[in-house]
Amino acid sequence: MAERVLMKGNEAIVRGAIAGGCRAFFGYPITPQNEIPECMSRLMPKAGGVFLQAESELAAISMVYGAAAAGVRTMTSSSSPGISLKQEGISYIAGAELPCVIANVQRGGPGLGNIAAAQSDYFQSTRGGGHGDYRTLVLAPWSVMECYTLTAEAFDIADEYRNPCLVLLDAVIGQMIEAIEIPDWKPKVPPKPWTTTGAKGRPANVVNSLYIIPSDLEEVNNRIQARYKHAAEHLTRAQSIRTEDADVVLVAYGCSARVCRSVVDMARGEGIRAGLLRPITLYPFPTREIDALAERGKRFLVVEMSSGQMVEDVRLAVEGKSEVRFYGRTGGVVPAPAEIVEQVKAMAKASSGSTTVNRQPTTVN
């Protein structure tokens, strides 16, 4: 067994990033992600990279834009309100077809909210909270180990798709400590002939998202959409846990998936065949995997620490073929396994209907 070291999720983000070739970090403090910039300020100089605390989230994402244009693997991190501030910048990065990595350690919202764990930025993350037809590719770690590996991989993905890649976690995943085995990691860096590094021995390069002629901009959009299509084919990832024989499939990511992992065993302890489908990529979403389960008649219970956001992606995947229920807690409340077990039991008992919604908030149409 390789050596296991104890690490906080936020620290694993930093170490994974550096392993993934990140050499420039620009951030601004905000709880519950402060360990990321703090740890970066210690480790990045040792890795020969740049750490800079920006004057704001706007400045941070713009510095990322500049460093990405200059061809360096770069990232920023923040938590919900700070991520909202970066939306214009993220849209620019997507529009200029630049790679970068962004970590969002979600907290309770809306507004100032609180610093507890929430998953209410799912729409913002997967639908693009900024303007225009872009998306961020979204990875959702559920363990400290995945904080490390998915962050490292995020840089490869961002470079491959020339698009921002978001690592979406929450206060629990960011703040918890687990033992991990540090993997060997070799970044895959594609050539970047488009960088603005000084026009030495080549024509001048321009990094830009302005296309004043609509058909030119449409062409860019088509190129970007084609990349998303490619990602849907090649990047989508989900973990299935005991779904094979399951009657009720829980769908959850990140912290709520951890809770649901306990629920699966507890429910089975009570004789209910429960399983868990855990999307690892939230965009692209594992539509096909869920559709396949729906085809086999499985019923779904979507669990989120939100009032119902990912449930829309599940419903879009299921498209009426099977029942989709939702259970959510908001405002930083982490649901206890027992509450969810109750939901699973109720569902196992009830005859299959169409989409229903339980107790706490609601699906949204």
Binding site: A24, V50, A54, M63, Y65, G66, N205
Partner: protein, 244 residues
């Protein structure tokens, strides 16, 4: 006879989209000349603003980045920090730099970023149609202060050089006005000095160029230069504010 003046190498041979008589083009050319004279074209990364100069990346023959409105100094910081040997400049209007981008320019200056900013103060939002800028003079009309700027309603114009001069990060701050023959020479010299300061690697440099916007002022190009001289220069005194 030999050619003593032609298009600088760092400028692309294309038509610019500025209004007739707008000094944006004049200042572009000076920047290109300075880059040529310092022999740094292949190290330059320029950052364009959002404003009339938004297409500057088409007019220069060096690497250029289009920044979001007001964020050019942060973008430039990102570039310069990862490429310390590059020569990085931003080109920004008064709306871009002194309104939405206030925090970014102040902090780039306070950090003493080794970048150069060319700041075009034309007292208006040229590109969007002549709205009030932070530098619009008291009494001056605009499409969003149609009765003229009033201090107790729209506030006072901001003097950027004086503001930045209170910081320890800038090593060169100058205000110039290329509205007459002498002003042309001084402007070019100030721009050159600002770039040279960057090459020294000790801090931040900025040149504020008082410019015309004949279109929004609704006067002829020549009258717009007179307007700059008669109305702007008294409120925005020319000179070097920091040189260290």
């Amino acid at each position: 006879m030999q050619k003593v003046y032609e298009r600088p190498e760092s400028m692309a041979d294309v038509q610019m989209s500025y209004c007739p008589g707008c000094l944006h083009g004049t200042v572009h050319r000076m920047i290109a000349e300075v880059i040529d004279e310092l022999g740094v074209r292949e190290q330059v990364v320029g950052v364009c603003p959002v404003g009339c100069a938004v297409f500057m990346y088409e007019y220069m023959s060096c690497d250029m980045i289009e920044a979001a409105h007001g964020r050019a100094p942060a973008v430039a910081t990102g570039v310069k920090r990862v490429l310390p040997d590059s020569v990085v400049f931003t080109y920004q209007g008064d709306g871009d730099l002194a309104a939405i981008g206030t925090a970014e320019i102040i902090h780039a200056a306070a950090r003493g970023e080794r970048i150069t900013t060319i700041f075009i103060n034309n007292t208006t939002y040229g590109m969007t149609g002549g709205q009030m800028a932070p530098t619009t003079l008291l009494g001056q009309k605009s499409t969003t202060c149609p009765t003229g700027r009033e201090a107790m309603r729209e506030g006072f114009p901001i003097r950027v050089c004086e503001l930045l001069a209170t910081l320890d990060g800038p090593i060169y701050l100058a205000r110039v006005a290329p509205v007459n023959a002498a002003g042309l020479v001084k402007t070019k010299n100030a721009i050159k000095k600002a770039f040279q300061k960057q090459l020294e690697g000790r801090g931040f440099s900025l040149v504020e160029v008082l410019c015309n916007c004949p279109t929004q002022l609704k006067v002829s190009p020549i009258d717009s230069l007179k307007w700059v001289e008669e109305n702007m220069v008294p409120y925005y005194p020319l000179g070097e504010f920091v040189d260290r």
